[in-house]
Amino acid sequence: STNGNSSSTSSSQSGGSSSAFQGSPNETYYMVTFLSGIEYWKGCFAGMEAAAKDLGVKAVFTGAPQYDINQEVTTMQQVIAKHPAGILVTSINAQAMTPVINQAIAAGIPVISFDSDAPQSKRYAYLGTSNVEAGQKAADYLGQALGGHGQVAVITTPGELNLDQRVQGFKEEMAAKYPGIQVVAVQNGNSDQIKTAQVTSALLQTYPHLAGIFCTEADEGTGAATAVQEAGKTGQVKIVSFDTDKATLNAIKSGEITATVAQGTWNMGFWGLMDLFAIRHNLARPVANWQQSGVDPVPPEVDTGVTIVTKSNVNAYLQQ
Amino acid sequence: MARTLLAARGIRKEFPGTVALDNVSFELIEGEIHALMGENGAGKSTFLKIVTGALQPDAGEIQLAGRSVRLHSPVDARRMGVAIVHQELSLFPDISVMENILVGQAPTRAGFMRRRQMQEICERYLARFHVSFSPSELVKNLSVSQQQIVEIVKALVTDASVYIFDEPTSALSVEDASRLFDVLRELKSQGKGIIYVSHKFDEIFQLTDRITVLRDGALIGTVQTSRTSADDVIRMMVGRSIERIYPDKGNPEDQILLRVQNLNAGSKCRNVSFELRKGEILGVFGLVGSGRTEIMRAMTGVDPRTSGDIVLDGRPVRIHAVQDAIRHGVYYLTEDRKEQGLFLKMSIRDNVAVTHLDRLAKRGLLQRVRARELAEQVIRDLRVKAKDDEQLVGSLSGGNQQKVMIGKWVSRQPRVLILDEPTRGIDVGAKAEIHQLLRKLANEGIGIIVISSELPEIVGLSDRVLVVHNGTVAGVLSGSDMNDEIIMEYASGLHKEIAVG
């Protein structure tokens, strides 16, 4: 009986269309972010839009312009008030977002978490790379590039959780695997080129033998590159940055930045929407009646992977 | 023997560069009205600030009710029963009249104001001055004279033993002044002591019991009012006698310099027409709030107007903004020198230079030497008591500030000069000088309009008098009609005549 039940649901929902993976154009899925203006989300949303196009549904990008818990919670609530078909959300803060995510689920709106998770919430799945792991990857790359010796510094924006985690992963990995490398300073670049350039210059003064810099954010990467160049130390000081915006990629190509950490942003958006769609249309049914039995219909945790982009593979990214 | 309410001994106060007071002693007894007189900058206001705790003396002793006290702040003085009306208006523009009056002493219940009761108290006092505004009006909407009344009432509501008035009537009409005097006499009869500062001799002799004179910060002496004369007091004040306060009348040319026709701008300026001849001093008189200021502001483009033509030297001119008026040589001196006239935080030089910017510029740069010469000339011509032309205007005495304001316009060769209460707060000597100066300018062919609330000044100075009543021209008087009674009749609206064209 369970079999018949679920097949009837399936047929009724996809009825009229040629395939199960075909939605209706007024079916709207939202991507909710914080610091919504930054370039990073564009990769995620590009993936979501690609999926939306394939599925014939609508994808809308929105979020809180500032790094502000209240703003993101409010935006999420406002989106819920519109009863969308599903929400892809990245949480500025896991704890603070948990109740609203649950509120959406309770209202029957499927929610998938991407990039920054809210693990305690009832979201169906999380797609992303742990920022700690991304930091570790950066450390591994820089550690090897420096041959396991030398002084390195970190430039970050303190107080932003995802960035803090990258720093944490970086430092832990360095301490664990590269005892010859010293993390001499963690400085505030405030996600701003001018500020980062100032801090980097001062770092270069303070540590004349500085061999590497890890920047947890893209604007900090380009700012640091400029300062290193102004000091005439391009190449001498290896910079590992984060994310794959045009400026960073160009800087890699020209050798001002040695490498950057690329997260699987496109995949987060693409598979995130696929998950939402599958849940919405009840296409994924690992067990019958998963709703009642508490079984997750989609893979609960998906690692979208980390790639280190260097001069050797930068062209692939530049062509996107 | 009456009790001494307030005594000061050997008071000295030095400002960097000026000794404002030197060894000044003073005594105020129960039931007396004691005048404090002196030229502009003699140190009167400074003395009063010291006895009310707003300034600290460098040396000397102050006694209140027989006890030696140290006043650290105005609060101390207030608590010991000294109330003061300061020379410079010290009101709160954004706040209602009643809260201004009852600042610090509003009737309260559990920390909250009792508005009804406040209103009653204020109305009671304001009624004595027959004012037309309500206690809930914002002070910034009142005219200068109305504000002065508020300021006075503010002191009167305080239950004090000593009341101090620093030039309370400088912006008041004669009626309001006499209403104030009634109140003062009443206070006197209750055994209060009153210190009264004024440059108006008639008031002093009408009202006060004793006169103390200061000159250049030094005590000249204290005399019984009844046993002295104006001439004696003037001599004490300035060290010489002043022959005459008003210059000879001029002989204006027949040529009409300025003609205003059907000027309309709100309810305080309705259908105003008048003319001004070359070389003439036209006095403008009216009761408080009659709209004299509004008429002149509308005429000179300060305030927008709804209609009206202005003909200058036979040619119609378009005046829509102050700059237009200035371009045509029509200058307006505001009555509100502190708020609208002067740059208190800037030097005398800067204050004078502002009206000459176009002439002081050479290739866009300010010529400092010429600016200094100009300022020094103003200081000399108007005998401004100042250290030099770089002294900040805010640190000048009230009268000297007024002189700077006149100077900055006079030095720019006007064709028509409009002065709103130009001699407010100016001492006898300086007043005579300003009158001479105005007459001299008139004789050079300039047309001068003087708004004044002082009837004697109007009569003494003007060639003709334009009387304003309730926003309209009640009449233009000349020759023998130009006397106190007739002018007052017109001003009170008793002689409602067709405006003279």
Binding site: F61, T62, P65, Q66, D68, I69, N70, Q71, T74, T75, Q77, Q78, I80, A81, K82, H83, N93, Q95, A96, P99, P158, G159, E160, L161, D164 | A54, S73, P74, I84, H86, S90, L91, F92, D94, I95, E99, V103, G104, A106, G111, F112, M113, R115, F133, S134, S136, E137, L138, K140, N141, E294, R297, V302, D303, P304, H320, Q323, D336, E339, Q340
Partner: protein, 332 residues
């Protein structure tokens, strides 16, 4: 060319109860702007007038509005407080970390408030007694207080778990179907409004803002009142911080960032002026509401995030221009 705004002659002098009339009318413009905006929005988006959305919108402005009430007092006095945002985060962080270390959360909240009061006291003393410019003083305190929040948390947001339900009720509970936070806001606004209009101590703030020298000469202890002003401002910011903690169970050192400008904007939209002497609590509330509605509309109407700040800026200017044009109110 028109006369400058400070020229007194501009002001109309009308009949009785002028003051109250204009005050009402002035706030009425914003009320009208808000109403018109609501009508337009309800046509553009069906969910705008839903109960959920209204509650969400009000909830989103609770903190801004509470902080704005404090800011109003500073603005009325002719001052300024740029440290409110960091005081807000510090209060939350102090409370949170004490609670995490085992202290009863209510007691911890008292310490959080005390820390805020301390910051307000220092600000007030420097501004009132040493006579430091409020802008630079509060900008400095913004750094110091934010620094305290960073040092306490070492940058990481504190997740506060296991605190008593009674505390969470403040930020997450409902009373008569309406979130407790909204009730709190209502109480703060009504009480503060009454105090600012009627209490003698609050009127002193208006005196100081209107003419500081005259206030001094009238026997008002200007320095002392100023100290209290900044204590009050900090107190409200502290309350907002603790309520934020209660609402999200998270104390982030970045909470409240940018709050100062939002609050000042709300106050000025509501009729306060940076030169002091003007401003009401009601105005601050209405200003916050207007900003809240605009933010809500951006999401509801799916305005592209890249257009949002443009639209917000535009609406801000439009609202104030409208207000100025209808009242030709003095600015400077």
């Amino acid at each position: 060319m028109q006369p400058t705004d400070t020229a007194p002659a501009n002001i109309q002098n009308e009949r009785e109860s002028w003051l109250r009339k204009v005050t009402r009318i002035r706030e009425l413009t914003i009320v009208l702007v808000i109403i018109v905006l609501c009508i337009i929005l309800s046509f553009l988006s069906s969910s705008f007038l839903s109960v959920d959305n209204i509650v969400t919108t009000i909830l989103s402005i609770v903190m801004t509005a509470i902080v704005s009430v404090g800011m109003t007092v500073a603005l009325v006095s002719g001052g300024f407080d740029l440290s409110v945002g960091s005081v807000m985060s510090m209060a939350g962080v102090v409370t949170g970390s004490l609670a995490l270390n085992g202290m009863n959360v209510w007691l911890a909240a008292v310490f959080g408030l005390l820390a805020s009061l301390c910051s307000g006291l220092i600000t007030g003393l420097f501004i009132g007694k040493v006579k430091i410019n409020p802008f630079i003083m509060t900008l400095g305190m913004q750094g110091v207080v934010q620094g305290v929040a960073y040092v306490v948390t070492q940058g990481a947001p504190l997740s506060v778990t296991g605190v008593p339900k009674s505390f969470l009720y403040l930020g997450q509970g409902n009373l008569l179907g309406i979130p407790v936070l909204i009730w709190i806001l209502a109480v703060v606004v009504v009480v503060s409004d009454f105090i600012m209009r009627r209490a003698v101590v609050a009127r002193k703030v208006y005196y100081i803002g209107s003419n500081e020298a005259a206030a001094y000469l009238s026997g008002i202890r200007v320095s002392k009142v100023k100290v209290w002003i900044y204590i009050f401002t900090a107190l409200l910011a502290g309350i907002a911080g603790i309520l934020t903690l209660s609402r999200f169970s998270v104390a982030a050192p970045t909470a409240g960032q940018g709050m100062e400008l939002q609050a000042i904007a709300a106050c000025i939209i509501g009729g306060a002026s940076l030169t002091g002497g003007e401003g009401t609590v009601l105005g601050a509330l209405l200003g916050s509401v207007l900003v809240g509605i605009v933010n809500d509309a951006l999401v509801l109407l799916n305005v592209s995030v890249y257009w949002q700040s443009l639209v917000t800026g535009f609406v801000l200017i439009a609202a104030v221009t409208l207000d100025v044009l209808t009242h030709r109110k003095k600015t400077s």
